[in-house]
Amino acid sequence: MKIVVGLKQVPETTNVKINEKTKNIDRRGVSGVINKYDRNALQTALDIRDVVGGTVIAMSMGPNDFAVSLQEALSLGADEAVLLSDRAFGGADTLATGYVLAEAIKKIGGVDLVIMGQQSVDADTGQMGPIVAEMLGISQVTYADEIQPKSDNELRIKRYDDNIEQEIIAKTPLMLTTTGNAGKPEYVNVVEIKNSFEKPLTTWTSKDMPVDSNRLGQSGSPTVVRRIMSPEPKERAGKMLSTDATKAAEELAGILHEENLLAEED
């Protein structure tokens, strides 16, 4: 099987704040790591390859420093890596990013399986998998928890549709998105790190693919972020009850009865 894994580099911590001066997200000193669900996606791909044979290609669209994460993917066992990097790709929303990823997958050609994470921990959208699947015209199974190859072109998948348990048999070509339960990531070993530098890591720009420039970057993005804000949780009265537990319990019991908070509704 020829498998492509979509991999995004994200800030190491999502505990970021807005810089009051620039009104932008302050990411100073925060380094980039592979989005955690993409580690599950990558491991799922490696596990499938190890059973049915084939190649795993890690793919990422982003600035040049995303190459670090692709290098890491190679050391984790991916066979090849492709970085999609071009100024024209900058400022892309999910639709414009999906377009570039889909075009790159078409360029590779003969891809049986694309695997992405269920969501990125910075953008938190989870849209990329279904968007790319639609653009490639292939089937999709999202939020996959357990994946097993059934034959050369079929997978058996377990997932939850909220609390409904589903088992699915899906034929390739297919898009999968993985939860944190799929493909438990393994650690890198030193030999693999050394070997990874022998593996191909290629960069493609907009010139390497037949892309429509109107569909790239900001101009290809229907969504516009008007404003970013710090969340303002609704503050509440915070009335302190007595510090004596018995008195406090009596006070509260009174309030609960008065406000009718213990009554059964239909």
């Binding site: 297919l174 229907p222 516009v224 510090t243």
Partner: protein, 320 residues
């Protein structure tokens, strides 16, 4: 394609019922815009969920009765929805619940229609016909206000249980039944099992009363269970407790767990991280117990007890 002045909402079904998020979305969309609300319902021949949906007062329900679409996969549903748009025109907005299903179908449809989609919104409002969407990112640490000025439909998925559903008592909903919709079935996906697991936990999302335990309250599980029994409450937990054998993932409240909206929430030994409080904003009355009088949870609470959860539970179990 023609544009129509309607806002569309996708009616999401669980097994044998409409997901309550659908009702919440109807009430919300009616309250923020004059534009007529249309609900899109895919159901089997034998079902008539339109009767339940109409109690929330949408202007119209488009009902597609098709046994094959009833439990269909994402690709087939997205195809049917785009078929409806071909037939009736492009609405101003198309809103889904941010459930597993909504979050899988909506982006698929977005890519068919080549429009914008904002995932997992916490709030919606309109400026004329412009839908203003508020979405969290960076694990709820940042809020973004997003608009889709030049494309239609303006699409969004909205987190369940953020808004309250309200029934209305007029009966003016127009029901349109469609029997000739063209859609492509996805032949590559075969759903072989589709069941509610035998062990279904009491549902936190719809509970009227919740007793929530954090790391500071976990040793008092027995007392907390006693309280929960007394007041007929469901027990919820913060994320660190889901690693313990006694609790599981479905009991987690918060950004990566359930959003809850009970009448009464009692927090025991919960510090009040943003990821936890993101899930409790819609609780009616919040009571919190914490040994630290500066615990952030107190700012988000109506009533606070500064002391140990053990003392408090014992005393409260006595008086109730």
């Amino acid at each position: 394609m023609t544009d129509i002045r309607e806002n569309w909402i996708f009616a999401e079904k669980s097994i044998n019922k409409i997901n309550s998020a659908t009702f919440q979305l109807i009430t919300k969309m009616k309250s923020i815009s004059e534009i007529p609300v249309t609900v899109v319902l895919l159901e089997s021949q034998a079902d008539s969920f339109e009767n339940e949906i109409k109690q929330y007062g949408p202007d119209k329900i488009l009902t597609v009765k098709d046994d094959e679409l009833d439990k269909a996969d994402d690709v087939s549903v997205a195809s049917a929805l785009s078929g409806l748009i071909d037939k009736f025109g492009t609405p101003i907005s198309f809103i889904f619940a941010a459930t597993t299903f909504g979050r899988s179908v909506a982006p698929r449809l977005q890519a068919k229609l080549l429009t914008g989609l904002t995932a997992d919104c916490l709030d919606l409002s309109f400026e004329d016909d412009l839908l203003v969407q508020t979405k969290p990112s960076y694990g709820d640490n940042i809020m973004c206000e997003i608009v889709i000025p030049d494309f239609k439909p303006q699409m969004a998925t909205v987190r369940p249980n953020i808004f309250k559903a309200e029934k209305v008592f007029d009966d003016t909903t127009k029901i349109v039944e469609i029997n000739d919709l063209n859609w492509d079935k996805d032949a590559n996906i075969q759903i072989t099992t589709h069941v509610l697991p035998a062990k279904t936990d009491e549902n936190l999302a719809t509970a009227d009363r919740i007793v929530a335990l954090g790391r500071g309250g976990k040793q008092d599980l027995n007392n907390a269970n006693e309280l929960a029994n007394k007041i007929n409450a469901t027990v919820g937990v913060t994320r660190p407790l889901t690693d313990m054998d006694e609790f599981d993932q479905s009991q987690q409240i918060g950004q990566s767990g359930e959003t809850v909206a009970p009448d009464l929430l009692i927090n025991l030994g919960v510090s009040g991280s943003v990821q936890f409080t993101a899930g409790i904003e819609n609780a009616n009355t919040i009571v919190s117990v914490n040994t630290d009088k500066h615990a952030p949870i107190f700012k988000q609470s109506d009533y606070c007890f500064n002391g140990s959860s053990e003392d408090f539970l014992k005393a409260l179990n006595k008086v109730l």
